[in-house]
Subunit: 219 residues, 2 copies
DNA sequence: GCAAAAGTGTTACGAATACACCCATGC
DNA sequence: GCATGGGTGTATTCGTAACACTTTTGC
């Protein structure tokens, strides 16, 4: 708890976006290499200032697009971080959002890199805390909503869906019970197509019936 | 969806506080009579501007104390409301908090009144939406945390605790099952004291063992 | 034929639910 | 003695968890 010596005259609003995906069998977060003097070696979740004429949601979507080129992702407000000394450059109140990127979608912007959520680099500001809050929200929501849909590609195989759960929750699930449960919820529909070309039995491809977030008891 | 015509130059930060208690067998909310021209007949959750030198949490506690005289309540950040046109007087981003007041504690400040959460008066700004979000958060948290402690007096009878749940959840609970469940969780300890002076069998008084919020599956 | 993942049912256990009567007090 | 809420146990149902083998493909 360091006390701020600076006397701020204004408060500015920012948004920061924690972008998740599943890569290499891990939950990963997209971070931006900092350039500012005080944080030369640090990384941060992409963020920026809210414009006076735009809502927080719009600001989050705009900044996400500007910094990463990504649009149309699932975006949800997480929490607002308002410690006085959280930014050494001024009094910045930041509303954090988290975004979910379907697996297998590439991000090519320079200065951005993926990190395992469990093994983060040195982070600027209070972004360690922000990302920790995002991870625990994501875990919680996975259990009682259908938002996994936002992490999956359009068509996928049940074992990939199960893997996604396992990676985020950090524990193994029983294959038969998982299938029973997820199919009983009627969130998925089978497509006619099967996987092919792999050295094992082909698998049925599924899709989510609807891509709207809703509450369902999954785990 | 009305578009704002005003071109705001600055964004200011506010906090609004939804204060809950149980009164008259109902979940009630403490509201303040508005004075401003545009909202002459409306009520609003107490709120105010965040000072540049104080955190959001501090601002919420300060404003709660200033407007109602209440201190030491359970306070939790709810959500940040950032629509551009949510306040006709300027661009105000408001971080909403909710507070829980133990039953039977009086509030005497003028201009404040209690309303049933299910039957609210005309509300200023987007406070209808804010209160709705607070009610649903409260319901959800009741089921998987021990925060009821913040709504109960120091010592209470099991049937009062059950009544609190019933009123907030809006459904009846089975007495025997409720007692079994709540006692099994070891959140309560019995006091030596009993109720007296009522026209029925005396009841054992209980207390919460700890008054820290923690996650437990209650319902 | 071997490796690799897909697909499939049943049993056992524990938690949640439903349910009714006697008890202690004030008036 | 009657009205009022306090206090208690059991049987049933339902959901969760545990568990192993056969199938289809590529190489």
């Amino acid at each position: 708890m360091k006390k701020s010596v600076v006397k701020y005259r204004f408060t500015v609003n920012a948004v920061d976006i924690v972008i998740f995906t599943i890569r290499e069998n891990e939950l990963q977060v997209l971070l931006l290499k900092m350039q500012k003097p005080l944080f030369k070696k640090a990384w941060a979740a992409p963020g920026g200032l809210v414009r006076p004429q735009e809502s927080l949601e719009k600001a989050a979507a705009r900044i996400l697009a500007e910094k990463t080129g990504l649009t149309g992702l699932y975006l949800e407000q997480l929490y607002t971080f308002g410690r006085v000394d959280r930014d050494p450059f001024g009094r910045v109140v930041s509303t954090a959002y988290f975004a979910l990127l379907p697996v297998g979608q590439a991000v090519l912007t320079v200065g951005l890199a993926w990190f395992m959520a469990a093994k983060l680099p040195v982070l600027a500001y209070d972004h360690k805390e922000i990302i920790a809050a995002a991870v625990s929200r994501l875990r919680a929501k996975l259990a009682y909503t259908n938002i996994v849909y936002a992490l999956m590609p359009k068509e996928f195989v049940l074992s990939d869906l199960q893997k996604t759960y396992e990676v985020i929750l950090g524990r193994a699930l029983d294959k038969r019970n998982f299938r029973k449960k997820i199919l009983a919820l009627k969130l998925l529909k089978t497509t006619a197509r099967l996987t092919a070309g792999e050295a094992h039995r082909p698998a049925v491809l599924f899709r989510f019936i609807d891509q709207q977030p809703k509450a369902v008891q999954i785990l």
